[in-house]
Symmetry: C2
Subunit: 224 residues, 2 copies
């Protein structure tokens, strides 16, 4: 059974994983880019942007955590809002994600949506499969696609909340960024009593952010 892992999920000190008013021009919400500045100060983050010669990225704690989010991952699940700004039925096949021709996944990606759409094959080994059967169906498909590797849960916040409520997350790595956004999309919300069973297993800070890694206290307890 593959493990379901969340990595490098940035939140502000006041708990927001994205700013308000997410749309085509503000995929992270207004002000939300402040949550991700730490990523693009690292070699791994710069490489994600396609900059093969990082000009200013410093290796170190942040880079190690960022790289760890890629290790032993065979498939990714994401919510539809992370795939694109469109809502409702797909108007056509034109939108292929935020990431251009060669998305930085290089493995099968499963997009949760209420609206069917044919799969999409991109350059570099990334495929997008649109799952209308809900979060457990997506996890099952992603687990099969991942083979012996783990499944990464991308986001956004609402999708992570769905999996937290269902008790399906094995590892949750949160990055606390020392800013106050004031409003936006809260990560730990609507959890009906909370993300039970997740205990802190690692706490490390860089000069810019705090990394907190939670894991299931009872690793056998998932889907028990």
């Amino acid at each position: 059974m593959p493990r379901l892992r969340v990595h490098n999920l940035s939140i502000s000190v006041d708990g927001y994983a994205a700013g308000p008013d997410q749309d085509l021009e503000h995929p992270l919400g207004v002000g939300g880019e402040r949550l991700h500045e730490w990523v693009f100060a690292t070699p791994t983050g710069l490489a994600m942007l396609g900059e093969s010669e990082p000009p200013g990225g410093a290796p170190g704690t942040d880079d190690r955590f960022l790289a760890r989010g890629e290790e032993n991952i065979g498939a990714t699940i994401m919510g539809r809002n992370m795939f694109g700004p469109l809502r409702g039925p797909w108007p056509d096949e034109q939108w292929t994600g935020w990431w251009g021709e060669n998305p930085p996944y290089h493995h099968p990606v499963f997009v949760l949506t209420s609206h069917p759409r044919p799969p999409l094959t991109m350059a570099g080994g990334t495929t997008f499969t649109f799952v209308t059967g809900g979060i457990e169906a997506a996890l099952e498909q992603a687990g099969e696609a991942a083979g012996d590797a783990d499944v990464r849960l991308g986001g956004g916040a609402a999708t992570i909340q769905q999996y937290l409520r269902a008790g399906l997350i094995d590892e949750l790595h949160v990055v606390v960024v020392p800013v106050l956004l004031g409003c936006g999309e809260r990560l730990f919300d609507a959890l009906g009593g909370g993300p039970a069973g997740l205990e802190c297993v690692q706490f490390v800070s860089s000069p810019t952010v705090a990394h907190v890694r939670f894991a299931r206290a009872d690793p056998e307890g998932r889907r028990g």
Copy 2:
């Protein structure tokens, strides 16, 4: 004009400053004591408990921040829930706070309440004055009592929210504790668009918690 400062305010990664169901037996809410374990691992924290020979407290980052919360403070403001578990009109004068005969303030303390009560003089220089005129009246009285020193805003979360909404806080030191409480009293909530004007001026972690200090971006902007 004295500055209004909040220090050593612990919150969980999911944003709670206290656990749920605060009462006489659980002044920090159920599970809320996990937010304060870092305090009692320091010499300053142990001294607050009256332990003059700290057995295991380690000086360091946490201790320095804890001690800083006492420096140049001439008066404290707190909400009624921080003073005690009683609600509604005061039944009598018996409840004198959580802290015994000699509270760890040693200066004038102003307690926000809707219900009048005569002032209370404790050992060690602490006085409790009950303010029914609202947060601005309390700040004015505390400022006069503090003289040339600053005023500390104690808590709890609802009281800090009132002052944040009014834009009256000059410095806010939050301690992010790597736990998930799941429920309780959220600090950054009901702010109607957020704590505008507070910017991070310091971010330092110890091995156990992350300290984030916010200050007014425009120091002259208060009560402008």
